[in-house]
């Protein structure tokens, strides 16, 4: 026992010494930079990450004197590798923030961070009623970084082939899902705090979607990513299938697209709600194939999904894009109306 302890002690010391040695030698400047990067953060353990600009030339101008360089940005942890998030902001707008704070996907943490001034710019979804309710200013996407993010179910092709009637069942939902309807669904869940399954049930009844019946058609696994709109949409799909003779296993709130896509490719879920342009850019690594034309984007997406054994069904008129929002106070202080205003020189 004693011998074991001594060996464990020796091993740990060696590892630690190695770690410190490597860290110390590699980062004399980085540690200094990190100390100065967050002068306003008195807190001992804030997660903000100094954003590393892709182009050194842009960094020289952006890091010193743009409005964005004075502001902290909050969004989901996957944002730094997303074409419609930090990558696109840098590439299309030349915007580099003072720091990035990993929070949640347009959820309560991002709202709280904006309200408490922890971040000045946040990522919320454009269909999120809390933008209006909390009085945030949605910056206009004047250089069209976001493309046609219409809502559409993505389904495993094998499942669709085995159950071809699913397409018609879910198309019925997409057809009736307008922007106003989507906002109403989201308001009921995030503002009125209603249960997503109750909200979905009421909507299906009101929309006059009549079940065609049938029974024992098989079991379908419906998934969703990790924000409230996805829960309502997935609930709509699930209840529609249940009303038409399918049994449904719900695997909601799985995580980001990076989690859900492998899940559907490996057959652990059969279908989930998606957004045309965001999924397109996710699959093509942000090469810009998604456009503002939903029909064209849907066709591109179908082509990208085919080798992965997935299909996209008909898209809804309703869209939900990444929206960059600031508080009214921040908007007034810096005169922010458009996203491009963030790249202007700081006053």
């Amino acid at each position: 026992m004693r011998l074991f302890r001594i060996i464990a002690l020796g091993a740990s010391t060696l590892v630690l010494a190695g770690a410190c040695g490597a860290g110390g030698s590699a980062t004399p400047t980085a540690t200094a930079a990190s100390a100065s990067a967050q002068p306003s953060q008195a807190a001992p353990a804030a997660a903000s990450v100094a954003v590393q600009p892709a182009h050194p030339s842009a960094a020289a101008s952006a890091a010193t004197d743009t409005i964005a360089s004075r502001l902290a940005f909050g969004g989901p942890p996957e944002c730094p590798q997303r074409p419609f998030c930090l990558i696109g902001l840098q590439k299309v707008y030349g915007v580099t923030f003072k720091s990035f704070v990993p929070l949640d996907a347009g959820g309560p943490l991002t709202v709280a961070a904006l309200e408490t001034g922890k971040v000045q710019v946040g990522l919320l979804f454009t269909s999120d009623p809390s933008i209006q309710v909390d009085g945030f200013v949605l910056l206009h996407d004047d250089k069209h970084l976001q493309a046609s993010d219409n809502i559409a179910p993505v389904i495993r092709t094998a499942v669709l082939q085995a159950h071809p009637d699913i397409a018609a069942l879910l198309d019925e939902i997409s057809e009736k899902l307008t922007q106003a309807q989507l906002t109403s669904l989201n308001t009921q869940v995030t503002v009125d705090k209603m249960d997503p399954s109750d909200v979905a049930r009421a909507w299906l009844q009101q929309s006059g979607i009549v079940p065609t019946g049938g029974s024992h058609k098989g079991n379908i696994v419906v998934g969703s990513t990790n924000f409230s709109e996805q829960l309502v949409l997935a609930e709509l799909y699930a209840q529609q299938l249940e009303a038409n003779g399918y049994s449904v296993t719900r695997k909601f709130n799985l995580g980001s697209r990076e989690v859900v896509q492998p899940a559907i490719q490996s057959g652990q879920i059969d279908l989930y709600p998606e957004y045309l342009a965001s999924l397109t850019e996710y699959l093509d690594n942000g090469s810009g194939l998604a456009t503002t034309d939903p029909a064209k984007t849907s066709a591109v997406l179908a082509r990208l999904l085919k080798p992965k054994g997935e299909s996209v069904l008909a898209f809804a008129p309703a869209t939900d894009e990444n929206g960059f929002v600031v508080t009214k106070a921040t908007a007034q202080q810096y005169g922010l109306v458009n996203v491009s205003d963030l790249a202007k020189p700081a006053p």
């Binding site: 004693r2 302890r5 464990a8 002690l9 740990s12 010391t13 590892v15 630690l16 770690a19 410190c20 490597a22 860290g23 110390g24 590699a26 980062t27 980085a30 540690t31 930079a33 990190s34 990067a37 967050q38 953060q41 807190a43 001992p44 353990a45 804030a46 997660a47 903000s48 990450v49 100094a50 590393q52 909050g74 989901p76 942890p77 996957e78 590798q81 720091s99 704070v101 990993p102 929070l103 309560p108 943490l109 709280a112 961070a113 309200e115 408490t116 922890k118 995580g255 980001s256 990076e258 989690v259 492998p262």
Partner: protein, 240 residues
């Protein structure tokens, strides 16, 4: 192998998301939590152990504290912090960690004092020692190994559990685990988990050393951290 490559990448050793900074944040916040918990828990544990009163109440509360999941505490404390205008990435996780660290410290401080041979306590009183003198000169030195074991247990738990803070936007090594999951960057996730495990082992080792240094004279090494076995222990008097 990808994990090794991830760890070997110099880019992961630099900047505010670099390994040294994350380790520092992790150690800083864990240390702060354990310190705050010790300030709260040790006086309570010592008072209860010394007087023998309130043992049931304190024992029950400590057990209740252990049953509360840190994850739930963290999420429940976030709205509280937002209402109090405190940074919700920093304070809720610290609160949850303090509550996590208190029960083992109270329990061990109490058990340590209770484990001191009653005959020795009686003898000390017979020699004319006052209550505080008995506590400080006899009970505390003899119970120190058990008390330190409580601190050590708490510290290792806190180091391992502080990773939850990343869910609320906090720093530390949990960042790699949570971000790695959100981005499906498995090497990042595994590297984070490995670093946390190493840090927890290192914490354990540090407390082992502290226990060795502070072990009372006359207690053999093997008897330090186990149950108290006061038979044949010589009390070496004041100034131990």
């Amino acid at each position: 192998m990808q994990v090794v490559a991830w760890l070997a990448d110099p880019a992961h050793w630099q900047g505010t998301d670099g390994i040294p900074v994350r380790i520092l944040e992790h150690v800083e916040a864990s240390g702060l939590s354990v310190l705050a918990a010790a300030v709260i828990a040790l006086p309570i544990g010592l008072a209860v152990g010394h007087s023998g009163r309130g043992a049931f109440v304190i024992g029950s509360l400590a057990n209740l504290g252990r049953a509360l999941p840190s994850f739930a505490l963290l999420l429940m404390l976030i709205p509280v912090a937002v209402n109090l205008r405190l940074d919700f990435s920093t304070w809720p996780i610290l609160g949850a960690m303090v509550l996590l660290a208190i029960p083992p410290m109270i329990t061990n401080a109490h058990a340590g004092l209770r484990g001191v041979d009653r005959d020795l306590v009686e003898a000390a009183r017979g020699m004319g020692m006052s209550g505080p003198q008995v506590l400080l000169r006899l009970e505390l030195p003899l119970a120190l190994p058990v008390i330190l074991t409580g601190v050590r247990l708490a510290a290792v738990q806190v180091v391992a559990t502080y990773t939850l803070g990343a869910v609320a936007g906090g720093g530390g090594l949990g960042r790699y685990i949570y971000d790695g999951f959100a981005r499906q960057d498995t090497p990042r996730m595994l590297a984070g988990a490995g670093l946390v495990a190493l840090l927890a082992i290192a914490t354990d080792v540090v407390f082992e050393l502290v226990a060795r240094i502070t072990a009372p004279h006359g207690l053999a090494a093997g008897e330090r951290s186990g149950g108290m076995e006061p038979t044949g222990v010589a009390i070496s008097g004041p100034g131990v």
